[in-house]
């Protein structure tokens, strides 16, 4: 049996023919769509390295079957920057050294983008820590990650204020 689904991936419409319903969103991105920015750290929802946004919400792409996502809008790390202009979260990760090896980083960043849009953590470091706890970092760049997310949250809020003013 073959399954045909359509996805919007980083703004681009894609039709995907799936010969196998077992393919997860993560493996679809990495092995079939050549979007390898999203990483696999556990394949079981335990590390957050595979975090992407589906319809604007952060999820673990390793625990989502691609076939179930027909019609979904998917954002990955590759689509976050605006050309050469980094997203504020990306810029903050560099500035606060929120990573070392960088392997967990795409997941951390997408998770942070999701967390910020959820709007429950604000710029309270403790809420950010809790909200980012689904993203393990073995290099243990947590200090910088928290600083980066807090900082990016503030900057993004300022930008929104300025725009609405």
């Amino acid at each position: 049996m073959s399954y045909s689904i359509s996805l919007t991936v980083n703004g681009a419409q894609r039709r995907v023919q799936l010969d196998d319903p077992r393919v997860t969103l993560l493996d679809l991105l990495r092995e079939r769509l050549d979007l390898t920015g999203t990483k696999k750290g556990c394949d079981r929802g335990q590390c957050g390295a595979c975090t992407v946004l589906v319809d604007g919400r952060r999820i673990n792409s390793c625990l989502a079957l691609a076939v179930t996502l027909d019609g979904a809008d998917i954002s990955t790390i590759e689509g976050l920057a605006d050309g050469d202009t980094l997203h504020p979260v990306q810029a903050a990760f560099i500035e606060h050294d929120g990573f070392q090896c960088g392997y967990c980083t795409p997941g951390q960043i997408m998770s942070a983008v999701g967390l910020i849009s959820e709007g429950h953590a604000g710029d309270d470091p403790e809420r950010v820590r809790e909200g980012m706890s689904g993203n393990l970092c073995r290099c243990a760049a947590y200090h910088g990650i928290t600083e980066a997310v807090v900082d990016a949250t503030r900057r993004m809020a300022e930008t929104t204020e300025r725009k609405s003013a």
Partner: protein, 351 residues
């Protein structure tokens, strides 16, 4: 992972009609897909509930109860203002479980149905009566430090890992199910099964039945002002409970009019003993009274391995959770939901 057929019905009727032995219902997939990957569950058909609109809504019922569709995502429920205001400990329990990403995907029905985290259950190469009836229980005599101290049997000592189900049990939720034989209601107390000599029977669902909603009865909302969830863990977040407690009180000044308590991670189901709650009625909210309730709740507790410590830990956690609920539901969700460190965290909010 074994290959399977995939179908995506748009109504509950169609879903039920599509069911045949060997099929599995798919919610958010955060538990099912995981277990399929490691070869513990091998359905030949997946019936994706994801497009069934009728499973979607959260309804606040007139009079104070609520009805939550089985497909409501865990995070949507926890952050639903009206729901969280009426049932704060359910929201707190959900937010104390898993991670932000997982809660965005996980459904209420799937959470209710999630399997034990017993390491031997998760390992197809170990004996496990729950996974393979009659094969034995490798957890007995093995790595069982976080397994059951209540309601277990020689056949199985697994625990139910759900956080959400603990306050639901305390509040007497009702599970609405639909199957080939139609719809019925199952009180949550009867939903999860103790192992006995048939640990493979995990819930009261009949083959083909699916959860369509959970209902919180009117009186459950009476506890909103004094309701807490407490979860003791080995790391500050993103860890399953060693023990957890949902505790709610209805107070009239300094007197308890009604109490609800349930323990998580100690048995194959959330552990609720109404007799323990009754002991509190008419009492002042004191440590002594709470300790008596805790003892009653834990009556018959017994180590099933290297887990005797959980009995004392649970006793203490019950007392603490009751104290926390007596102190009142916090206005805002603690920064670290359900954590012993949750209420104090904000005072030191430097990075």
């Amino acid at each position: 992972m074994k290959r399977f057929d995939y179908i995506r019905p748009v109504s509950v009727d169609d879903a039920v009609a599509a069911f045949r032995p060997g099929a599995a219902y798919l919610g958010g997939g955060t538990n099912l897909l995981d277990l399929m990957k490691i070869g513990v569950i091998q359905p030949d058909t997946l019936i994706d509930l994801g497009r069934i609109a009728e499973l979607g809504p959260i309804e606040m019922l007139p009079g104070g109860g609520a009805r939550v569709g089985a497909l409501v995502r865990n995070s949507d429920l926890a952050y639903d203002r009206a729901f969280a205001a009426a049932f704060p400990m359910v929201a707190e329990a959900i937010l104390a479980g898993a991670s932000g990403q997982l809660r965005n995907a996980a459904t209420v029905g799937g959470n209710l149905m999630q399997k034990t985290r017993c390491a031997y259950f998760q390992d197809p190469h170990s004996a496990c009566n729950r996974r393979e009836p009659g094969s034995g229980c490798a957890a007995r005599g093995g790595d069982n430090a976080n397994l059951a101290v209540l309601g277990w049997s020689d056949a199985c000592i697994a625990t139910n890992p759900s956080d959400m189900c603990v306050p639901l049990a305390a509040l007497g939720a009702v599970v609405e199910v639909q199957g080939p034989a139609g719809k019925r209601d199952i009180p949550i107390a009867d939903f999860h099964q103790l192992p006995g000599d048939q640990p493979e029977t995990e819930t009261a669902l009949q083959p083909g039945e699916l959860v369509i909603a959970i209902r919180l009865p009117t009186e459950a909302a009476d506890f909103a002002r004094n309701a807490r969830y407490l979860k003791v863990r080995e790391r500050t977040s993103f860890a399953f409970a060693l023990v957890s407690v949902a505790a709610a009180l209805k107070l009239d000044g300094q007197k308890i009019i009604a109490a609800r308590i349930a323990l998580g991670a100690v048995a194959a189901k959330p552990w609720r003993v109404t007799a323990a709650e009754d002991l509190l009625v008419g009492q002042a909210p004191t440590e002594e009274a709470f300790a008596r309730a805790a003892d009653a709740l834990l009556e018959g507790a017994r180590a099933s391995g290297d887990n005797g410590y959980k009995i004392e830990l649970a006793r203490r956690a019950v007392i603490r959770a009751l104290q926390m609920s007596a102190a009142g539901t916090p206005k805002r969700m603690p920064a670290l939901p359900a954590s012993p460190f949750g209420d104090v965290a904000e005072e030191h909010s430097h990075v």
